[in-house]
């Protein structure tokens, strides 16, 4: 007990020195509090943000890897091609073939869904192009009609949508293998353009995730997914008005490459797109099938019955029809997504395909400033703690050297060394605890405004960076976008889209369908992400607990140094030095 009592007396009687230590410790503790609170809040934001919401994931193609593989295989077959690659043309055919083969079939997608160890829901949609007949015409203006005649324009737009897939939700699954890199042969392998896009959905969820956004039914109702409802479709109100159709009418569409093949469909309902922006963004460059108003929705079962589903069209050799498959996995939360991604890899998904989730990517993108802040907070924390430890140790060392004589006296009259050391440790503890209490109070008051201030600067830094990127690629996109009619520049413009799509893809929001459309070429590839701009860095008991632990740790470390000194002292030596 007397150890405590004497420690307390010593603390009280060395006010100046102890107030200095308290101040230093308080500053360190305040900085550490802010740092810990930020890290804590960042962790919470990350955990809670995606923990409870379901995540959709898709499997996409990593094209650059595909190219590398195609290149390496072609260069190995001819040794001269690698050395002369700078002046000779790349092996387009090999690359196209590689991309053709890289597409996954419905069976593949389903296999991966089964391979998952976590609960995974799935839905998919299949799109194909169909042409109108004399009695059933697409919604179009005269300019778009003329633009539609150039098949290369639609093919280049489909390639651009494929490359920017990570950023745009709806286009992510558009089978990139079908879309060539743009250029002369694009029309042959690309999505069959036609006048209409006939999309089959596997479930209501798939409909809800439709590429053209959500819609409301103005009359009739959405088709069912069983075979009973085969042949039933829903069409947009604009298309219905254009052709003067109503629910229950029958329409006839033809295969775009073979007008002798006709398909009869019954209108089960008429819908209106909730977001009108998609309808006019097609612009003069898009084919009429790209116009949202020319989208005909039906069930996959209908497509299958018509022989237009992806499995059938992929199996037949003729190139007259092709269907794009878009397959989406629904996972309960972000953790399941990670598990699913690794499960799929184990199930045999090769390197050229990657599991992607725009939900996760968008969320991650929105967390970039917060992550930066958390990193900064960690650095701050480490620096502060190291400096704090050094300062405390030095102060304590000086303190004990100064009081060496006291140690000598106490041990000489028979006080245990352990007790002397304990007294010194307790003294330091009292002082540092006062400092930590002060620092936590100050840090708690300061952490919310300080961390929001820091986060705001991080966000603006991030936005500046994004803006400069946008400016850079905006110039590039102007080249193609400014001259939509010139087919000679199509390849170039889609190429620039590719690069901006890959660099900014993760930065554009999921709702941003612009890159999907030809109009997206006119810059604006990356829109400002809705960054997490406020952080709830309140100091809670966890932070206080961590801080007290850290404080105890620091105190013990520095006290240990003192204890070692005390233990080394021999009373006789000290007293002899004194004399």
């Amino acid at each position: 007990m007397f150890v405590l009592k004497n420690a307390w007396k010593t603390v009280i009687r060395n006010k100046g020195r102890n107030i200095l230590i308290i101040l230093i410790v308080a500053i360190i503790a305040a900085a550490a509090t802010v740092g810990l609170a930020i890290r804590n809040a960042a962790d919470n934001a990350r955990e809670t943000g995606l923990a409870s919401t379901s995540v959709t994931a898709t499997i996409g193609v990593d094209r650059s890897k595909l190219m590398e593989q195609a290149k390496s295989s072609s260069s190995s077959s001819s040794s001269s091609s690698s050395s002369s690659s700078s002046d000779s043309k790349p092996d387009f055919d090999a690359m196209r073939e590689a991309m053709e083969n890289s597409s996954l079939t419905l069976a593949d997608y389903e296999k991966y869904a089964k391979a998952s160890s976590v609960n995974v829901g799935t839905y998919y949609s299949e799109s194909t192009g169909v042409s109108g007949t004399d009695s059933f015409q697409p919604v179009e203006s005269t300019t778009s009609n003329s633009a539609n005649s150039g098949s290369s324009s639609s093919s280049s737009s489909s390639s651009s949508s494929g490359s920017s897939s990570s950023g745009s939700e709806g286009s992510t699954q558009q089978d990139p293998g079908r879309g060539g890199p743009g250029g002369d042969q694009g029309g042959m392998q690309g999505m069959t353009s036609g006048d209409f896009t006939l999309t089959g959905f596997s479930s209501d969820k798939a409909v809800a995730a439709a590429k053209n956004g959500t819609f409301t039914m103005t009359s009739g109702k959405v088709f069912g997914y069983g075979t009973d409802d085969n042949g039933k479709v829903i069409i947009s109100k604009a298309l219905a008005d254009f052709n003067d159709l109503k629910v229950g009418d029958t329409i006839t569409v033809t295969n775009p490459n073979d007008t002798s093949k006709t398909y009869k469909l019954t209108i089960g309902g008429i819908y209106e797109n909730t977001t009108s922006s998609n309808t006019d963004s097609a612009g003069p460059m898009g084919g009429t099938s790209q116009d949202a108003d020319n989208a005909i929705y039906t069930s996959v079962s209908t497509l299958k019955s018509l022989g237009l589903d992806s499995t059938t069209t992929a199996a037949d050799d003729d190139d007259d029809t092709s269907t794009q498959l878009s397959y989406t996995y629904v996972l309960d939360n972000a953790d399941d997504y990670e598990t699913f991604a690794s499960d799929v890899k184990k199930a045999g998904l090769d390197d050229t395909h990657t599991v992607q989730s725009s939900d996760v990517e968008n969320y991650e993108a929105s967390l970039v400033p917060l992550d930066n802040l958390a990193k900064f907070a960690l650095t701050l924390l480490v620096v502060v703690l190291v400096v704090g430890a050094v300062v405390l140790i030095v102060l304590n060392l000086f303190n004990i050297r100064e009081r060496k004589y006291e140690v000598g006296v106490l041990t000489a009259i028979g006080v245990n060394k352990v007790k002397v050391a304990a007294q010194f440790a307790i003294e330091l503890l009292i002082v540092t605890m006062c400092g930590i209490a002060l620092g936590v109070a100050g840090g708690a008051a300061a952490s919310v405004p300080v961390s929001n201030q820091l986060l705001a600067s991080q966000v603006s830094a991030q936005q500046t960076e994004a803006a400069s990127q946008q400016a850079q690629f905006g110039r590039g996109a102007d080249m193609g976008g400014g001259a939509p009619g010139q087919t000679s520049q199509q390849g170039e413009s889609s190429g620039s889209n590719d690069s901006s799509g890959s660099s900014n893809g993760s930065g554009s929001t999921g709702a941003n369908a612009a890159p999907n459309e030809p109009g997206g070429m006119r810059g604006g590839m990356s829109r400002a992400v809705d960054y997490v701009s406020s952080i709830n860095a309140t100091v809670n008991f966890k932070v206080i607990g961590q801080l007290i632990l850290i404080g105890l740790g620091l105190t013990l470390v520095s006290a240990l140094v003192g204890i070692i000194f005390v233990m080394r002292y021999e009373p006789l030596q000290i007293l002899a030095d004194r004399s």
Binding site: V409, I413, G414, R578
Partner: protein, 233 residues
Amino acid sequence: MTFLEFHDVVRQYGSGESAVLALDHATFDIEQGELAVILGASGAGKSTALNILGGMDRATSGSVTLDGTDLTKATEAQLTDYRRFDVGFVFQFYNLVPNLTALENVELASQICPDALDARETLDKVGLGERLGNFPAQLSGGEQQRVAIARAIAKNPKLLLCDEPTGALDYATGKQILQLLQDACRQRGITVALVTHNSALAPMGDRLIRFRSGKVTEIDANPNPTPIADIEW
């Protein structure tokens, strides 16, 4: 049986050729309740002998026995206990804890010893009843030394060891201190060993032990010690 036996003690510093013998087969006894004056020039080994007696230093060879306890065989912890319970130290430079008041310095003794004397009373006896709350820095040298004596006596030790207690004090103050030590011995029956280089103090003790070059050269019993008041130097 002899209270304190210092038998054939050698204390060697260093080793080999540079070895120095601070104590060279020194032997003496002190009886219980005696005031022994240990006299010698500087470097004669008297302080070394006192440190060994006080449990702060160890003999290289020989044996030191106090009231049946052999100090040369004691462990470090036993030596600490010995310092705590059995001996009181009075140093030349007082060695008070600067952060503690006079009273608290004396209370240190009662904090570590179970059968300690009352601190206030002891301070009152050494004439500092009015200065209880003063810090060492606020006391004169003589007053500090009296606090140190009070602290040593308050432990109620078997043996009081004084290393040049008057070395830093003037004549009159020194006399008061010596009077206190003599009183402690006479009135409380504490055995006192007093180390000094001042040969004028020799008559005040019951026993005179003279050191020269680490050897005990003379042991004189003095059946009629002179009161401090009559000693002049």
